[in-house]
Amino acid sequence: MVIPGQTPPTNLDEFLEGIWKQNPVFVMVLGLCPALAVTVSAVNALAMGAATTFVLLGSALLVSLMRRIVPREVRIATYIVIIATFVTIVDYLIAAISLELYEALGAFIQLIVVNCMILGRAEAHASKFAPGRALINALGMGIGFSIGLFALGSVREILGAGTLFGVPLFGPDFQPWVVMVLPPGGFFVLGAWLLLFNWWRNRKPAPREPVVAAGEASHG
């Protein structure tokens, strides 16, 4: 986050923050429920990523626009209503676009409401900055989240079905590892990604503490 006395972050920094430094999936480990539940395939993962990004952008815009008039006592309630609105919107949009996708994602679209990352962004960023910056940051976060989901979904689809985006990769005789599309596989794949990240961070000579904003790490 912005630390007084430092040069204010550029737009690029804002954008990259969510993609790398504070990746919601790998660094902050937020929004796990949808991340694990729907990532049985790359398509689902991307769809979920897109839906979440949409909600992030919409709520960031609205929260940022209203940041001066929302009294602090009711700000959380306001944010939740705004987020729920955009989630309902995206819920209807997906149902209108593809019923198949809608059924694949199931109740987890609506559960975006309680994705703490979104509330966290609204509280910690959008409510403090102008719409332009808030949108850039939200877009970065959304893309970062989508990348995280894709990393999960693609591994699970490749191993669990031998395909990527439904395209067979290894020919017809490939034995799928069914466990990967089952719940344990979700835990294992995300766990393995985190292991990889830990290992990568540990092998650097001077490991930097991950920057975690206080307001976001506290609630699940």
Partner: protein, 195 residues
């Protein structure tokens, strides 16, 4: 659609379709609060209680929303009612059972953003459960959540004394443990399906 019996719903929700281990609901508190046994139990109890309240509220709300054909307000009203229910529970508890409040109080705010609670409301709606089914479902969800939390807390407390490699420490270890627990819970698949 054939009706699932109450026993089936309960068993399936606690074991085979455990909210945490099979449906990935309530993962954040699961990872966050499962470090110690003495916090896991109150957290589980508080969550179960709120789930029951939320399930009851959601049932009534869903009825209203359907009657007045305001489906697009369902999600908003659910999330608002859950947040209010938590507040209400907190106030009632504070007034009538301060001891319980002291034990559970710090967990209640955490519960608002617990997707397992909203999950109970959303799933019972999607599955068109009757009131009795919905309540049993909520009970099962709470019991399943508490069970998973307790198991996880026990394992993590024990692993605190183990030589877990540095790379594995933290969330990665919790996820791997959850995966193994989830693997073990697969044994319950189909339990109660027979008769």
């Amino acid at each position: 659609m054939a009706e699932a019996t109450l026993t089936q719903i309960f068993l399936a929700t606690v074991l085979a379709n455990n909210f945490v281990l099979a449906m990935f609901l309530g993962l954040c508190p699961f990872i966050g609060v499962s470090g110690r046994l003495n916090t896991a139990l109150p957290m589980g109890a508080a969550t179960s209680f709120v789930m029951l309240v939320a399930s009851l509220c959601a049932y009534g709300l869903n009825y209203l929303v359907t009657v007045f054909e305001l489906e697009f307000l369902r999600l908003i009203s659910y999330i608002v009612i859950i947040a209010s229910a938590v507040q209400l529970v907190e106030m009632v508890m504070k007034k009538y059972s301060p001891a319980l409040f002291r034990a559970l109080g710090i967990y209640l705010p955490l519960i608002t953003t617990n997707c397992a609670i909203l999950g109970v409301a959303l799933f019972q709606t999607a599955r068109e459960y009757s009131l009795a089914q919905a309540l049993v479902f909520a009970l099962g969800a709470g019991a399943g959540f508490t069970l998973a939390l307790l198991l996880m807390a026990g394992l993590r407390e024990r692993l605190n004394l183990a030589g877990v490699p540095n790379v594995v420490q933290g969330t990665a270890l919790s996820l791997m443990l959850a995966g193994l627990l989830s693997l073990a819970f697969m044994g319950f698949a189909g339990l109660g399906a027979g008769e």
